[in-house]
């Protein structure tokens, strides 16, 4: 295994607060993510983990706080900018394009990079066709990587849940992101499948050097693969540090892990 070099801070979240009417989803959250690391976010249900990703992603606009990505600071980013800067994500409640095939779903991940305009695409000659084939090759590599060759042309709506999760990951990978935000990628999988998924995540992290932010409830997974863990509870940060340290943090045990772990 290639030795990963954990680099400088690539993504820095400062004092984020997010409210929905009376609900305080996030209160004054700060943490950072270093290049090439696997950063886990854990916390009980409703703690605000997904909302955190949504803020980074530009889906939600936090009322307070800022986000710094590669030296540029934003108080709000729009989704398109975020995507262009190289942040991709997967979703907790599958947000695949149901009516499209696996191949097309993953191809949408390449759309940002497509240059040819509408007319060339309509005529599908020369550059447009070449471009389409180039991207198709990339996507095929991802499909191979995720071992979903057999489902290429199947509409994703018909796939079992676990495979849909993989396609979701594939779509994010197709963006060739620098930072990949994963929201419970392993929910609804058995151990064997979780192992597969971990393997994919680790491979991406190793081979492409992609930084990963991971939300996961399976503590086994979190402990095994993450470099540092942030713990949220009721919208507040209650812990941050290497897995071992977090696991022994009494607040975390009380709020999240329960006694049996």
């Amino acid at each position: 295994m290639a030795q990963r070099k954990i680099g400088d801070v690539i993504l820095d979240v400062r004092n984020i607060s997010l409210r929905f009417g009376g609900v305080k989803a996030l209160t004054d959250i700060s943490f950072d993510v270093r290049e090439h690391e696997i950063r886990a976010i854990i916390g009980p249900n409703g703690a605000g983990k997904s909302s955190m990703l949504n803020c980074i992603n530009g889906v939600y606009t936090p009322q307070e706080g800022s986000i710094t990505f590669r030296g540029r600071t934003f108080s709000h980013m729009n989704s398109r900018q975020v995507a262009e800067m190289g942040i991709a994500r997967t979703f907790q409640n599958l947000a695949l394009f149901k009516g499209m095939s696996v191949l097309d779903n993953i191809m949408t991940g390449r759309n940002l990079r497509i240059k040819s305009n509408l007319f060339l695409q309509a005529l599908r000659i020369g550059p447009a066709e070449r471009e389409e084939i180039e991207h198709r090759e990339v996507v095929e590599r991802i499909i191979d990587f995720l071992e979903i060759q057999a489902y290429r042309k199947t509409p994703v709506g018909q796939l079992p849940y676990g495979l849909q999760k993989r396609v979701d990951l594939g779509r994010a990978l197709a963006m060739e992101p620098q930072v990949l935000l994963l929201d419970e990628p392993m929910a609804g999988m058995n151990v064997e499948e979780k192992q597969d998924m971990c393997r994919f995540i680790l491979d991406v992290n190793d081979e492409f050097g992609t930084t990963i932010v991971l939300i996961e409830h399976d503590m086994g997974v979190v402990m095994d693969i993450s470099d540092r863990v942030v713990v949220l509870d009721y919208g507040k940060k209650i812990g941050d540090g290497p897995p071992e340290e977090v696991r022994n943090n009494p607040d975390v045990i009380r709020a999240y892990l329960g006694t049996s772990h």
């Binding site: 409703g46 609804g188 999988m189 971990c198």
Partner: protein, 269 residues
């Protein structure tokens, strides 16, 4: 050990989606009265389909049972509507939450009691659900769509309990729940099972949990039951240990160390 009479018997059913996709290829299983049975299996094995077949929710997915029979306490139920089944005490918690997005959490829970009349009982039951899931109580006035994934999952489970069921079909109850809550959910299952004699049929990926609480287990693969047995036995089965519990060789393997080329266990050639 004398096995109690079966509440639910599935006899060699075949299910086809969209007239062409054959998904279940002769599945038979039984759920004994007052017991907890688990269906285990990988993604796409057909667990959800089996549960849907039992609760008659296939039609909406354009699927149909083409062979075999399903009996509830000796009565054939293939032609009953889901509502009839709920009246007979069979409720399914659907995979993927399926809360009523526009209704508040509390309204969601109350619709669960649709088949019941007694206002007092309903109110008591609501309180019970809130004590099971205090988180829901704090979010009771939010529209379900705007609650977190885990909260929705609790809501879906709570909603089913509101029907005061005697048989519950749970489809991946642990999905998306924090470990503590997973434990709690299974404790609730145990509690209901022991105190109120509710029978459970649980489709689960969290094999470890499921086998800890279940009396009996079925392992499914590609639309067939490939192994079944008392939960105890399954837990000690080497294959199950390795492939479902991640404990090959008695030791839990680190997720970091999984090899890139790993042969998978396949019962079916």
């Amino acid at each position: 050990m004398t096995t109690p009479a079966p509440v639910l018997t599935v006899n060699g059913i075949e299910v086809i989606y969209n007239h062409v996709i054959l998904v279940l290829k002769g599945v038979s299983l039984q759920l004994a009265e007052g017991q907890i049975a688990a269906i285990l299996g990988g993604n796409g094995a057909g667990k959800t389909t089996t549960l849907r077949a039992i609760s008659n929710l296939l039609k909406g997915e354009r699927g149909e049972v083409t062979k075999g029979s399903i009996e509830l306490r000796g009565e054939r139920i293939e032609n009953l509507t889901p509502a009839d089944l709920v009246k007979r005490g069979v409720v399914q918690v659907m995979e993927g939450r399926h809360c009523f997005a526009h209704l508040t959490i509390e309204e969601n829970l109350l619709t669960g009691a649709y088949t019941r009349k007694d206002k007092g009982e309903i109110a008591a039951n609501l309180e019970k659900v809130y004590t099971y899931f205090p988180r829901l109580k704090t979010r009771r006035t939010s529209q379900a769509a705007y609650t977190s994934g885990g909260e929705q999952q609790m809501c879906a489970i709570g909603r089913a309990l509101m029907a005061n069921p005697s048989v519950v079909l749970l489809d991946e109850p642990s999905m998306g729940l924090a470990p503590q809550i997973v434990e709690e959910v299974f404790e609730i299952v145990k509690d209901l099972n022991q105190k109120e004699k509710v029978s459970f049929l649980i489709a689960e990926q969290n094999t470890n949990m499921a086998l800890r609480y279940a009396n009996y287990g079925y392992i499914m693969e590609s639309g067939r039951i490939v192994m079944d047995g008392a939960a105890e036995d399954l837990r000690n089965n080497e294959d199950v240990k390795e492939f479902y519990l991640g404990m090959g060789g008695g030791q839990r393997k680190s997720f970091r160390d999984v090899k890139s080329y790993k042969r998978r266990k396949r019962w079916l050639a």
